[in-house]
Subunit: 269 residues, 2 copies
């Protein structure tokens, strides 16, 4: 669906294609309703401010999401917002006509991860521009190349490090770890995406009296922590069961957070 019309074709001159000049959101549709909608819209609006894009109307987007996915028990809604066509070269046009694209995908066939996800270390570094950090923009070649590093279906996700070798996030998820009673997640002020589910988990942990801190960790040190888990908007929390030659059993902090999160998400719809 593009700008409210059912179509599968976009103008080939769109700046989203030419430069990655736009933003996206991946939203879980549960029982016909977009989950954590207001949080996705908040991030999208923030991204618009950073990219100097005219912000979309969240109510219009919501209506379009329902038209496209309202009949789905579970589905994935991907929402793209681009700066549209126009401008000479990199320079944005004086008048921007943003294009909003909504895609409906079937719910992914995720493996049973009760024993925990198998995590690998990616070679492709994650770079990032402090001025674009946290924003879910369309420049995602690093994630594509990182995800292309493995084909083994027994490996579920890859960890990406920045150029200095610090762990930042997964290719499609944010990462947390537990040491003692404390929860840590990498600082994302220089690169990475501020995941909506990451924000939910951080808020939830605080409510539960679990201290959450921004941390820096190497892959070597990550292999020694008590618990690791991953988050994203579709998976919620995935406990990590294997990383860097070590097996992890699902730990207590992860288990508690996961149960609370599931309850919370069910209540939130």
């Amino acid at each position: 669906m593009i700008n409210g019309e059912m179509t599968e074709q976009l103008a080939a001159t769109d700046r989203g294609l030419h430069y990655g000049d736009g933003l996206f959101e991946t939203v879980a549709i549960i029982n016909g309703r977009p989950r954590l909608w207001s949080h996705h819209m908040e991030r999208l609006q923030h991204g618009c401010a950073v990219l100097q894009l005219p912000p979309p109307d969240p109510q219009q987007l919501h209506a379009e999401a329902l038209t496209l996915c309202g009949d789905a028990e579970r589905a994935v809604l991907k929402l793209l917002l681009t700066r549209g066509s126009g401008g000479r070269g990199y320079r944005p046009p004086p008048t921007v006509t943003p294009q909003r694209l909504l895609f409906r995908y079937p719910w992914p066939d995720y493996p049973d991860l009760s024993q925990g996800a198998c995590l690998r270390l990616c070679q492709m570094p994650l770079t990032g521009n402090p001025r674009l950090a946290g924003v879910k923009h369309l420049n995602r070649l690093e994630q594509v190349m990182a995800r292309a590093e493995w084909e083994d279906p027994a490996i579920h996700e890859g960890v990406m490090c920045d150029l200095e070798g610090w762990v930042r996030e997964g290719t499609m998820s944010n990462l947390f770890w537990v040491e003692g009673e404390r929860l840590y997640t990498p600082d994302l002020s220089r690169c990475g995406v501020h995941g909506v589910m990451r924000g939910q988990v951080m808020a939830l942990a605080k409510e539960m009296g679990i201290g959450v801190a921004s941390g820096e960790i190497t892959p070597q040190a990550l292999a020694q922590v008590d618990e690791i888990f991953l988050t994203n908007s579709l998976i919620g929390i995935w406990p990590v069961g294997h990383f860097a030659g070590r097996d992890f059993s699902p730990g207590e902090v992860t288990r508690n957070l996961r149960s609370m999160l599931q309850m919370r998400l069910e209540v939130a719809g």
Copy 2:
């Protein structure tokens, strides 16, 4: 033109749009012929190797370029190659059907730069992934944001620095400077684009007995050099006439290189 068909619409599921998963080339069409074609094809093939994209057939692309632009005295050919649609999330599909898109644009209405271009310093840093450095891929949001920093038509180009503050390139050009008899251009092993015209100018300088070195320079130091010029596939060499509050008169090295380059390009067609 997409895959040889005259159309202006692309599948909205294309990975070029979703992730910037592809490459591009901007080629000058002079008297109906693409200039420096083999060099553009060489860079494109190198980019394909880096991105693990099936390389296109240069002869087919050439034929399509002639169909689209063969009647143009002067025009700009933009060539996009994407990984096409498919794959779940970032993961590339097992079988890739690359999409090749050719666009014809009128020759830009460049200002008369006999007095030299006016250059500014951009706030947006240029980051870069060493594994993607030099490749003309579709992740160009930094250039878009840098170019959006000014509207004054009297300013012709902006200089971008990396996160450490070293000058790397212009938003749409490579940069050279002259100190004494020697020519310098920033090292691009960590970020930036290996411009086709940059390669031509470096080769030409060597032939002319001008030493060329990779250099690191701050914007402050750049304002103190003898000569500065910019290169890209359309403009050839642009002498810089103004940067950071200082006026530069077109210098001898720039003038000589420019005359030689113009002759060379005319001979090459």
